[in-house]
């Protein structure tokens, strides 16, 4: 079965500081990977998705970037954090086609920008 690890679990950062959130997946190969952000009162928003190493698609313009250096590793980054970057960041993987067509989510990272 699939397992998604995200770290850190919580993070408090000052405005203007850099950011690196990591997501790793076990139990599957060549997964589609996703970063979502959950901001207060705004539901979940898709930020990036990746279908393979080095392949990143961005859904919305923003202060963040993503990279996929390895098949099962997905990283979310920022050079300078904004207050509006605060939120709960969730990594997800797509489990495949047919009856298993669904997304599986990690435990999330709570980011507070002060």
């Amino acid at each position: 079965s699939q397992t998604i690890h995200q770290w850190p679990a919580t993070l408090v950062q000052p405005v203007g500081s850099p950011l690196s959130l990591e997501c790793t997946v076990e139990g599957t190969s060549n997964p589609n990977l996703y970063w979502y952000r959950q901001a207060a009162g705004r539901g979940l928003q898709l930020l990036f998705y990746s279908v393979g190493i080095g392949q990143i698609s961005s859904e919305v313009p923003q202060n963040l970037s993503a990279s996929r250096p390895q098949d099962r590793q997905f990283i979310l980054s920022s050079k300078k954090l904004l207050l509006s970057d605060s939120g709960f960041y969730l990594c997800a993987c797509h489990l495949g086609a047919g009856a298993y067509n669904e997304q599986f989510f990690g435990p999330g990272t709570r980011l507070t920008v002060l």
Partner: protein
Amino acid sequence: AQSVTQLDSQVPVFEEAPVELRCNYSSSVSVYLFWYVQYPNQGLQLLLKYLSGSTLVKGINGFEAEFNKSQTSFHLRKPSVHISDTAEYFCAVTAAGGGADGLTFGKGTHLIIQP
């Protein structure tokens, strides 16, 4: 593109009473539909999904949902709720057949179970 509307931001229900959480979607193509549950400070857990076939879908924890194409709805129901069902519930949609497409979520409904 798809969109999802969850009209109720909060639904208070007494324990052992039935509940329905509403979800409506908009899409110009066929869709897959999902309900996820989120407990405080945790990730999302899949409750159930509609991909094709029977429009009545049964999921975990006694939940079920019915896909209504004419009403573009996918309401979630449970005949008798328990205190442990207190959580945030999200409806989500994606284009059918899309392997890479991400999910479009509603804003969520907070289910509050009162003893």
